[in-house]
Amino acid sequence: MTESGPMTGPVLTDGTAGEQPRSADLSGVPAKPNPTGADGEIGGSFWRRFVFRRPLAALILQRLGLSVGLLFAVSLMIFGGIEALPGDFATTYLGQSATPQAVENIRKDLGLDRPWSERYLNWLGGAVKGDFGTSWASKNSVSEQIGNRLGNSLFLAFFAALISVPLAVGLGMLAVQFRNRMPDKIINVISLAAISLPEFFIGYLLIMFFAVKWGVATFPATVYDSMSFTERLSAIALPVATLVLVVLAHMMRMTRAAILNVMSSAYVETAELKGLGTFRIIARHAAPNAVAPVINVIALNLAYLVVGVVVVEVVFVYPGMGQYMVDAVTVRDMPVVQACGLIFAAFYIFLNMAADILAILANPRLRHPR
């Protein structure tokens, strides 16, 4: 990583919508000849032709290649990070009740006495084949446990997204329509209040009122195998509500800002002069052009819903990925931490890629370099 590291893949040129910080990657496709393809002439010209004919496929391919590289970098960083933490698995796991003999036994058993590079490569070899090994602490298969936990996390994230995304976009459009009038102000104040409160606090407030005082909601939100679907839904009601409140404002405000941004452009003025109604202008003319930054914010929030909800999981006693990883970090359970880290990274990378592709699909002008 001498120059700009993994960022050298698809050159992230100047954005089309400069005022949105994230939209810089939207162009995705190289504006100048691709540096990775430029070295071999034949390969280079083939790549250039491919990029020209199938810009979308080229973008996806590039992104995938980059993602794999990024994942490797992430795994190395996680490994290094844990190596740098004070104490290894043996001492941390046994804690204050450890005897030197027990520590020694565990170290030998897990091969912690071998150099880190060897251990890393061993682990990587397994991970490439989809085998994340067994947890050092519980001796269970990591892949199996993650299957379970990831399912729980996705279940929670799915319902949170199902409610928050349409709600945020709808409220955003509503706010634009009633710009600077009462509904806009109410929406703004409430969403700002929600985003200003830390999520654990929102969680506690919901628990206090809905579970303790009124007794209408299920708490704790622990889910397990033998639960029926409806029981599960009732169990996750409070955490989903918390997550919706936490992510709503971000997406709503971005929708509002992006549409307002477009509203000041010439073609919207034309539409207004044509005498179209406000809602029609917003829905038909402004919204499609404002979709790129909104998709990006939604993607970031979706990623957050999967990987960033540790606090919510702890507060609601929900067995998801975040809690799983935190437990593993506490005892330096390497295989689990690595696997979780990689899956989280994969989620971020995938959702960002999806956001970029969707943005390009929504706005064909982004498809070709200028």
Partner: protein
Amino acid sequence: MSDYKDYLTRQVMLGKMNRREFLGRAAAFGIAASTAGTLFATSAAAQEPKRGGHLKLGLEGAAATDSRDPAKALSQFMFVVGRNWGDMLVESHPTTGAPVPALAESWEPSADAATWTFTIRKGVKFHDGKELTVDDVIKTLQRHTDDKSESGALGVMKSIKDIKADGGKLVLTLTEGNADLPLLLSDYHLIIQPNGGLDNPDAMIGTGPYKVASFEPGVRATFEKNTDDWRTDRGYVDSIELIAMNDATARIAALSSGQVHYINRVDPKTVSLLKRAPTVEILNTSGRGHYVFIMHCNTAPFDNNDLRMALKYAMDRETMVQRILGGYGKVGNDFPINDTYALFPEGIEQRAYDPDKAAFHYKKSGHSGPVLLRTSDVAFPGAVDAAVLYQESAKKAGIEIEVKREPGDGYWTNVWNVQPFSTSYWGGRPTQDQMYSTAYLSNADWNDTRFQRPDFDKILLEARSELDEAKRKDMYRTMAMMVRDEGGLILPMFNDFVNASTKQVKGYVHDIGNDMSNGYVATRVWLDA
């Protein structure tokens, strides 16, 4: 007077007072012993255990990394899980701490306490239907004493030299005499498993009152009644559900909304709030756990006993108990034993906060300049606050303490037992011998005060094989005085175990052995509708 009688009766009914304590208090107030005895009997009879129901407990201390193997059980959660499905050879008495029979019916030491013969109970069945044999016991002990073992009981078990059967009896030979051996076998790791758990240590098959129905590490464990249980005085509820709740507020919310019947680890700071809920009962039990400030006796400036004494007198213990423990604890006396231990040396004068004496010793030590104290909130709850309180009380004696807050992650590796002056926590041990052997014997692994005294070691080893209780008590007294007046330990307080339940939960036993009724909470309580 009748009010007080009522109060006492209620205490007994709530399980807050045992018979001995009750008789003692009743006598002190002039209630005749016979009346008191009847009272106790009535109140206890009113508490005839009810059977049935589904008990839910919200417990702190579970992790996704928890192992099913009892040898590797470490967390509070797994402690209770193990108590539900397994039995040890010996248990400890809830109020006296003395060893009582469990899977071992009886035992007999040799004169030098180095050879012990245990009679194993007959007719006990494992959950899989197999009958318990001496061989299962031998295999279990062998698994935990193996040098390659990762067992948490390895330190306890390493004095066992030989394990063999002698016509249906178990014979243990030790490297040296140990009068406390039966109590050591009550260690919660030493659950007797079929074939010693050698085939499948993770099977969770034992002889306990409940069978494991499901177990998801870090999330939940459920249990069903073992209808073949060899005991009738436990296992009152039909099924148990343990839910992992590592967040203190979540536990309190779950209890006050009635979603669980019992929670552990109630923060003393929130007890007064929780008490307001009409359905909630606070259960606090005196424990052996203690919060400590440790000085290395062999490292300057703490190698000077006058400085150590100065720092001991500069500690305001009463304030510590009030402010850090919220009153849920007892003051310590600079040795790691309190009256919950059998053979506790009574009558040792309580050390009190005395700025004058502290200043006197400080001057005599010839030390000047600040003393650096390292601390972190992982050392014990409120450790940083305690350090600052200490800093204030020491200031009045003219001693300057500099408090350095260390990161919690890695505290046990980098600070505790490494740096010369730090804060820490000890969980207590089943016996005095074990407590001293773990942390005060010259060559102990965890001698965190660097207390190296051959004369102390000698008494400790002699006391270990002494079967005469009076002589032993005397020896423990001498040892306590040595640690108290010459050691590097400042022990301001023993913390209570603070748990809470709904009022439906009856029969809670305040066990001095360990937290959560020594882990037996789910097997001892019943639900009153």
